[in-house]
């Protein structure tokens, strides 16, 4: 009985302290997450990346600050305003952050999917030169993400986009891409976004599924 009471106290104590400690972290994270998925401006993406770097520095055991930092750099890597050297530089930074994230949280489908997204950014930075060598790797990376979590809507949407590009290249129908995009869209529609946001889980990627879906039917 005494033991149980002790356990409850310890549990309550750790719970409250961790909750108290986390709140500053969560507050900072949620503010930046909201920014990063709603902006296209290079300046604010860089600001977010910096903010996530600051958060990551004091929370080295969390994967999300590294993940969202990488996302902020990856979005920059798609910006037409940057030249190839600059794009490669920010994407290398994204890669580096994802490696650290993977070390903190191994076997995480979201991290692997974002690695695929970084490769996609590298490809689109210089499609003529990199298309041949990278497209296979990208598909395999999304495959890896889906092997961990077959319901990762981002991996499904991005794979759908790759499949669509492939189908267009070979002049084939978009059936395969459409199947994936529909699956992705259904998962996006079914999920409770508020809960995900509260847990700092990724929610981005919906427009990608939608854009592939718009080419279907």
């Amino acid at each position: 009985m005494k033991k149980l009471f002790f356990l409850i106290v310890v549990f309550a104590f750790t719970f409250t302290t961790s909750f108290a400690q986390d709140s500053a972290y969560q507050k900072a994270m949620k503010k930046e997450i909201a920014k990063v998925i709603s902006t296209d401006s290079l300046g604010s993406l860089q600001q977010s990346a910096n903010a996530f770097a600051r958060i990551a520095a004091i929370n080295p055991k969390e994967w999300q600050p590294l993940y969202y930092g990488a996302l902020a750099f990856t979005f920059q890597g798609f910006s037409p305003a940057l030249n190839l050297d600059k794009k490669d530089e920010v994407l290398a930074k994204a890669d580096e952050l994802l490696k650290s994230a993977e070390a903190v949280s191994p076997g995480n489908s979201e991290i692997v999917a974002l690695q695929g997204f970084v490769l996609m950014a590298k490809l689109s930075a210089d499609a003529a030169n990199r298309g041949q060598s990278l497209s296979g790797t990208i598909m395999a990376t999304y495959g890896k993400a889906l092997a961990i979590d077959g319901k990762n809507p981002r991996a499904l949407a991005m794979l759908a986009q790759m499949e669509l590009g492939m189908a267009q290249f070979f002049g084939n129908g978009p059936e395969k891409a459409c199947g994936l995009a529909k699956q992705s869209q259904a998962i996006f529609d079914a999920q409770d976004e508020a809960v995900l946001i509260a847990n700092m889980q990724p929610t981005w990627g919906k427009p990608m599924a939608r854009s592939v879906n718009s080419k279907c039917k």
Binding site: I58, N129, Q132
Partner: protein, 715 residues
């Protein structure tokens, strides 16, 4: 008492509310502002990013001594101590640039890289396969690059006035002995290895790193693939053979096994040949490649290849009636290597491995059987330490064991040679900044058989300008003579060459331009009297030079869906070597060389069309009916090849290719009778092509769960 306590509390709270406003500017060492820098107080959430003018500002509730961190991509982070007193704090921060290998200058003198991501590349790995005319042969694609000469009756790599033995070939840093198949004289050969094995290559036409030695002209370093992407089976059906490759991929390791068979006999029955084949070339090979990840950054690779070749050909002898001389060749070849690479703590890197090659030829010259056995062992260990992003030091130790034997079994005669060579190399590279790098190296060697020690310094420097970059390379290179000569005279020493290379390289927006000039001096080249097959009075009295310049331009932008490159090389070479008594222009060094490669994609037809044209101004030869040696020249060489690759489905490729579509009768030289005929003239016959054209049809099918996978690499 209570009042005092309350006021104290208020004071404390007030002090607690007194924020410090921190602002300032981030610039580089030249005073240029850095936007997007991350400025923050260590261990807190307080911080901001610098704006487009490098300005930043934020407030903090922290007190007392704190550390202000400033970080920006491409710069070293700075940390400085600040004292927060609740008022305004203005900070000026200067960041130093770091060396960023993604955009830093690279040494391009002499070097031509095929790779996927780096910017100094001239070729993609896929180009080696999709260049029409190359027919899937690794060296075939390199022969469309500047600095090389097409020698159609040989097939090996000839670089800037050097003969084929002056190029040495490596796989994952380890030497490949007898990389080319054995062939009869004037019958072209091919490299033994499938281009699909490699993810990239580094081809140097001179001035190369101290890591490589025993090559007077050139090195070709091939890097094998790391991890294959997926489990798959690849079927290839060719008009001249077929093969199957199976790949299994695990989490930490992968296995690829393949078997191929090629027989030219059915093809040669249909298409008229100029060569008089009794038995058309027939070849089988099997190979196994193993990959194992080792920790986070390490890799262990093993590769084994074994093959057999057979052919019997009749070669006409000038001035004689009949089919001429019967040459039968049975070749047995095996190559294996095990290599590793690993990264240690504190920026230490280790790599190395062991390779073994075995080449056995049973040759029958008419009724005379000859046996030749060549074995090479290569062991290597390399340690690299990056002392800073600027400065790195590479150290390596190598061992080469070479044995060669020749036998005439009918006469019970045999002779052998064995040599052990030890090498050490050291190379430092120093980046002054992202725009200037210098590399200095020293390679030392010792041969037990030649009883000779040699020391060869190498140096190169590269400078990046606003548009393009300039690099310079110089060095000394040594190479022991070929085994078939060393077996006759064990005391033969190194031949030597000095290289001086000046290079300009520019790459932007899918356009690449490269210009290079070179000067190469040879000394101690092998000389002898008598025929090449029976040399006498072997010495090393030869010397000479090769000088010239070349251009390369590649463009994927100007013409839609079209990728083309064009090269021109000028080589002026004269040397005394072999059985020449004076300095002559070698037969393998045509003065003017050019090539044009075009690839065009037609989406509607799901096809890629390829064409390549190579040309040179002709080969020198000796006409004994006239005074002097190597005084004559053949007419120009020209070869236009076409190819068509059709992808009906993502995993099926149909490939059709034809060389020399115009059917030009290229001549590589003339052979003369050894004695004059009744009218006192030496009768000649041309050394020509095996057939007017060579055509191949191939079907590649990939079986895997991923239906998009294909063998595009096989084209």
């Amino acid at each position: 008492m209570k009042a005092i306590y309350t006021s104290l509390l208020t004071l404390l709270t007030l002090a607690g509310w007194a924020q410090t406003h921190i602002s300032g500017k981030v610039t580089d060492t030249k005073g240029i502002s850095i936007p997007g820098a991350n400025v923050y107080l260590k261990g807190t959430y307080d911080g901001a990013s610098s704006d487009v003018d490098g300005q930043f500002s934020f407030t903090s509730d922290e007190k007392g001594k704190q550390t202000l961190v400033v970080q920006a991509i491409g710069y070293k982070s700075s940390e400085e101590n600040v004292d927060l007193e609740g008022s305004n704090l203005v900070v000026k921060s200067t960041l130093q640039e770091t060396i960023n290998l993604l955009k830093a200058v690279t040494i391009t003198a002499g070097a031509m890289e095929a790779g996927d991501e780096k910017k100094s590349v001239v070729l993609k790995p896929i180009d080696i396969l999709t260049t029409s005319g190359a027919m899937g042969d690794i060296t075939g694609a390199f022969q469309t690059l500047p600095g090389t000469a097409t020698v159609g009756n040989d097939g090996r790599l000839f670089v800037r006035g050097g003969d084929a033995s002056e190029t040495s070939i490596y796989m994952d840093g380890l030497q490949v002995g007898n990389a080319f198949g054995t062939s009869a004289s004037n019958v072209p050969t091919r490299t033994r290895f499938s281009p699909n094995l490699f993810k990239g290559s580094f081809f140097s036409t001179g001035g190369y790193s101290a890591e490589f030695g025993q090559a007077l002209s050139s090195t070709l370093a091939l890097n094998s693939l790391d991890m294959p992407l997926r489990n798959q089976g690849d079927i290839s059906v060719l008009s001249v053979g077929g093969g199957y490759t199976h790949t299994l991929v695990g989490k930490q390791n992968a296995l690829t096994a393949s078997a191929n068979y090629v027989n030219l006999a059915p093809y040669q029955r249909i298409v008229k040949q100029n060569f008089d084949w009794e038995k058309a070339p027939e070849n089988w090979d099997t190979e196994i490649a193993l990959k194992q990840k080792w920790g986070k950054a390490g890799f262990v690779k093993a590769y084994f290849h074994t093959e057999g070749n057979n052919m019997v050909i009749w070669q006409k002898v000038p001035g004689q009636e009949g089919r001429g001389r019967r040459v039968g060749i049975n070749n047995q070849y095996s190559y294996g290597n095990v290599s590793f690479r690993q990264a240690g703590k504190h920026d230490w890197f280790f790599s190395g491995g062991l390779a073994y090659s075995y080449n056995r030829d049973k040759i029958n010259l008419d009724d005379l059987p000859v046996r030749q056995l060549n074995q090479v062992v290569h062991g290597k260990m390399v340690v690299i330490k990056d002392f800073s992003p600027q400065f790195s030091l590479k150290n390596g130790l190598e061992y080469f064991g070479k044995t060669y034997s020749e036998a005439l079994p009918d006469e019970g005669k045999q002779r052998n040679m064995a040599d052990h060579q030890f090498n050490h190399f050291v190379e430092t590279s120093y980046y002054f900044n992202n725009n200037l790098v210098a590399v200095a190296g020293l390679r030392t060697g010792y041969s037990m058989l030649a009883k000779q020690i040699w020391v060869t310094p190498r140096f190169s420097v590269a400078y990046k300008m606003n548009e393009g970059q300039v690099s310079l390379a110089a060095g000394k290179f040594k190479q022991l003579p070929e085994e078939k000569l060393r077996i006759l005279d064990n005391n033969l020493k190194n031949a030597g060459s000095d290289h001086y290379i000046l290079n300009y390289f520019f790459a932007n927006n899918n356009r690449t331009f490269r210009a290079e000039s070179f000067y190469k001096i040879y000394d101690n080249l092998i000389t002898y009297t008598g025929a090449t097959s029976a040399p006498q009075n072997i010495g090393q009295l030869g010397s000479g030079y090769a000088r010239g310049f070349d251009f390369f331009y590649r463009d994927r932008q100007t013409v839609k869906k079209t990728d083309f490159w064009v090269t021109y090389s000028f080589v002026d070479s004269r040397r005394r070597f072999a059985n020449y008594e004076t300095r002559v222009q070698p037969s393998f060094a045509p003065k003017h060389n050019g090539s044009l490669v075009v690839k065009h994609f037609i989406g509607k037809l799901k096809s890629q069309l390829g064409s390549s044209w190579s040309w040179n101004s002709g080969y020198t030869y000796t006409n004994p009916n006239e005074p002097g040696e190597m005084q004559s020249k053949t007419s120009m060489y020209s070869n236009l090849s076409l190819s068509w690759s059709y992808l009906p489905k993502p995993n099926v490729i149909l490939h059709v290719a034809c060389s020399n579509v115009l059917g030009r009768e290229n001549v590589f030289g003339y052979q003369y009778a050894s004695t004059p005929n009744e009218s006192g003239a030496f009768v000649s016959q041309p050394v020509g092509q095996g057939a007017k054209r060579f055509a191949v049809v191939a079907l590649f099918i990939t079986l895997s769960k991923d239906k998009a996978a294909n063998q595009l690499n096989n084209l």
